[in-house]
């Protein structure tokens, strides 16, 4: 494992374990998931137990211990989106991608996650693909939205 990115993050917070959540966030942003070796390395450098770091890493929804796909789909299941039928969109994606929320397709192309409100409730249901927001979504519009990504036309 290349320890450089981990060291950079540790330095950024001066090896202070009170910033653990922030460090893990930076690591998640950098690697798109939290590799086990990186967590072990961090625990050692911070002088904290592995139990503590894994407890924190598994407690928060922002962290993933498994690699995510190239394209990340987030469907909002906040209340405002739910009452406008966001659940049907998730069902459709589950069927089409053959994965459950939290999962990644076997070719590592797509990850599907649900989130509780993205703060754009007025235009719900909201779907975010690789950081791009789309409002007033539906199952039918979803197919159209994903097409360019499937064909590999759109890079993340």
């Amino acid at each position: 494992m290349d320890v450089n990115p981990v060291e950079t993050i540790l330095k950024r917070y001066d090896y202070q374990d009170s910033w653990l959540v922030a460090m893990l966030q930076d690591l998640q942003t950098e690697m798109h998931y939290l590799p086990k070796e990186a967590l072990e390395y961090m625990a050692e450098k911070l002088g904290i137990s592995r139990t503590r770091i894994f407890r924190v890493a598994t407690f928060y929804a922002a962290f993933s211990l498994t690699p995510k796909g190239k394209h990340r789909i987030h469907v909002c299941l906040g209340t405002a989106c739910h009452v406008r039928g966001a659940g049907l969109i998730v069902n459709t994606l589950e069927r089409q991608l053959k994965i459950k929320p939290g999962g990644t397709t076997s070719d590592l192309q797509f990850s599907l996650d649900t989130v509780n409100c993205l703060g754009a409730c007025a235009s719900g249901p909201i779907v975010v693909v690789d950081g791009e927001y789309s409002g007033e979504m539906s199952s039918l519009k979803m197919e159209k939205l994903l097409k360019p990504y499937r064909k590999g036309k759109k890079e993340s």
Binding site: V21, A62, F63, C117, G119, A122, S123, G135
Partner: protein, 619 residues
């Protein structure tokens, strides 16, 4: 920028900024809140800039990128000042016309105006649009007037004058008294009296005290804290500095939700700029008072909005709450006295200090003073953020401001208070909105989510939705919450699947009682509210699910059938094309209405979305 060391310097700098600005110079403001962002405001901004350049009036018109104006439904929003002309649903192609017609010739572009849905009258000025007219936007209104990344904009509208007043002409205890007298109650959900909380923290023993801003905004369906932080971060920071001074704290934190990257960014910029100017750091405005703030991002756990869990998270621990035998104002972050307030609570502070408690008290009801910002969303025509005086009725919010229900459907319920709140029926539409009245009705003020539901929303499904949310978000530390939410979810789930049993309603009530009574924190303590309120007001709907195995609203998948209405079917074949499970029989050539095969239908709803003739019904 050189640090400002006195109030006189501050006022001199403010005058300089104001003198350099001509209030009559045309200024286009563009809303770039999340709603407008999703609707494409940035291409519009680019097109306007380009049109100003090609029109040769680049230097004569200001273009200002602002935070959320609130009327998200009609975005992208563009306002032309000083006339305050509101153009809505603006597209990049409209930019040349806006420049050549409105800015150059002073003509109104009719097609971009808001049309009153009932009178069909075209409304020119922003303030005349009913959505805005009935609001009282004392906290949120400035969002539309300033560029959140410009501290000069904030100073130009009088920013940091409350801080100057507090630091130089008020004693800390006097500020606490003023906030107490104002009647301000916490906007984060509980409605705790802010001044009383400050006082307890101020009096707690120890040298180090912390103040924290709770920007975790966990209520799914609410985004006012986000929009305040994104659109007017200095107002929140100014409130925090005043509070810290009153309480006697030199160190603060803002705990922001991880899902809000723009809020974090704008807050960071605001903090840096305020630092440069000398509103943070040592000896603020020459008063001898020192204060610094750090920004922390949350990890995406609802429970971290709870005070003790939030503090655990700030310490780099899992965000689990602890029992509150000892209050956080005495022993909170790192076991030091800590005062936690919500974003909107902090933003009210400069307003109160400037205006005086007496004036502030004039707004609102006996027990709830001031305004509240709500996120009015769901099945309502004018979705967006609304700031209303306490005491306004739900009906005024939904119908007068919100413009009624989408598609002329029937109002069914309004959900307030997020996962800790409840669903209120039509018969309670005349309820005045304040902390105590909402609680009496079995709901809660909460942080300000207001989700409108119509006849096509199933109340059992809504209760199940919240219970699913809560069981996922329960941290698992105490058994009653961990197990209680799970069991309640299971019972609700079986009811929506058609496996409800006689006695299930009583069982839910039992589980509710235990979960509420025995849980460690308010997550479990209020978790039953969505269930109890729906049972209280929509019991019949539960009974139909349990006894008749039907979902009257047509939501619960196992209890509904999709059907094509033969004489409405135009035999176009669109439904068949989109059906993912070959459940639709028929051929265009046969000239016979299509048919859905119930045994193959997976109730995905694609056909009914594709049908342009409303020929598909749910029974």
């Amino acid at each position: 920028m050189k640090r400002i060391n006195s109030v006189e310097d501050l006022e001199r700098e403010r005058e300089k900024i104001r003198a350099a600005r001509d209030p009559n110079k045309p200024c286009i403001t563009i809303c770039t809140g999340t709603g407008c962002h999703a609707a494409g405001c940035y291409p519009v901004a680019g097109a306007l800039r380009e049109a100003l350049r090609t029109g040769g009036i680049e230097g004569e018109v200001d273009l200002r990128i602002t935070g959320c104006h609130g009327f998200c439904e009609r975005g992208p929003l563009v306002v032309i000042n000083p006339q305050r002309i509101l153009y809505q649903r603006v597209k990049p192609d409209d930019a040349p016309d806006i420049v050549s017609e409105t800015l150059k010739k002073g003509k109104i572009i009719e097609r971009l105006l808001y049309v009153h849905p009932l009178t069909e009258e075209k409304i020119v000025r922003e303030d005349d649009v009913p959505f805005y007219k009935l609001q009282k936007r004392i906290i949120f209104g400035n969002n539309g007037n300033i560029d959140p990344t410009s501290i000069e904009d904030y100073l130009a509208i009088g920013g940091y004058s409350a801080l100057a007043k507090a630091l130089t002409s008020m004693e800390p205890q006097q500020i606490v008294e003023e906030v107490k007298k104002s009647g301000l109650r916490g906007r984060g959900g509980g409605g705790f009296h802010t001044g009383t909380k400050w006082e307890s923290c101020r009096k707690a023993s120890g040298d180090t005290r912390y103040v924290i801003c709770n920007a975790d905004e966990g209520d799914p369906g609410a985004y006012m804290d986000r929009s305040l932080l994104e659109g007017n971060p200095h107002s929140v920071l100014e409130g925090m500095i005043i509070g810290a001074f009153a309480i006697g704290s030199n160190e603060g934190y803002v705990y922001v939700r991880n899902e809000y990257p723009l809020a974090v960014e704008n807050l960071r910029i605001a903090l840096d700029r305020a630092n440069d100017w000398g509103f943070f750091g040592k000896n603020i405005l020459g008063s001898g008072f020192d204060f610094n703030v750090k920004i922390n991002r949350g990890g995406g756990a609802f429970v971290c909005g709870e005070s003790t869990a939030l503090m655990a998270s700030l310490e780099g621990q899992p965000g689990e709450p602890r029992a509150k035998h000892i209050h956080t104002v005495e022993s909170g972050l790192y076991e030091k006295p800590t005062n936690l307030n919500n974003v909107e609570t902090w933003a009210n502070v400069p307003y109160i200090v400037n205006l005086g408690a007496e004036q502030y008290r004039q707004i609102g009801t006996d027990g709830s003073k001031g305004t509240k910002i709500f996120s009015l969303v769901g099945k309502v025509n004018n979705t967006g953020l609304v700031e209303v005086p306490m005491g306004i009725t739900l009906r005024e919010i939904v119908y007068d401001i919100g413009g009624g229900i989408i598609g002329g459907k029937r109002f069914k319920a309004i959900q307030t208070g997020g996962p800790s709140g409840g669903c209120l029926p039509e018969s309670l539409l005349d309820l005045p909105v304040d902390f105590d009245r909402l609680t009496e009705a079995g709901s809660m003020m909460g942080s300000g989510g207001m989700i409108v539901m119509d006849e096509n929303n199933c109340m059992v499904d809504v209760a199940k939705y919240f219970m699913n949310f809560l069981k996922e978000e329960s941290c698992g530390k105490c058994a009653s919450c961990r197990e209680g939410t799970k069991r309640m979810y299971e019972v609700l789930h079986r009811i929506t699947e058609g496996n409800g049993r006689e006695g299930d309603i009583a069982l839910l009530e039992d589980l509710s009682f235990v979960t509420a009574e025995a849980s460690l924190c308010a997550l479990g303590g209020t978790a039953p509210n969505p269930v109890l309120s729906t049972i209280r007001y929509f019991r019949e709907e539960y009974e139909v699910h349990i006894k008749n195995k039907k979902c009257p609203a047509g939501v619960c998948k196992e209890l509904i059938t999709y059907r094509i209405i033969p004489n409405q079917c135009t035999i176009c074949g669109r439904c068949q094309k989109v059906c993912p499970s070959q459940a639709i029989r028929g051929k265009i050539k046969m000239k016979k209405p299509f048919e859905i095969l119930p045994e193959k239908c997976i109730r995905c709803g694609m056909c009914s979305e594709a049908c342009k003739f409303d020929a598909i019904e749910i029974v």
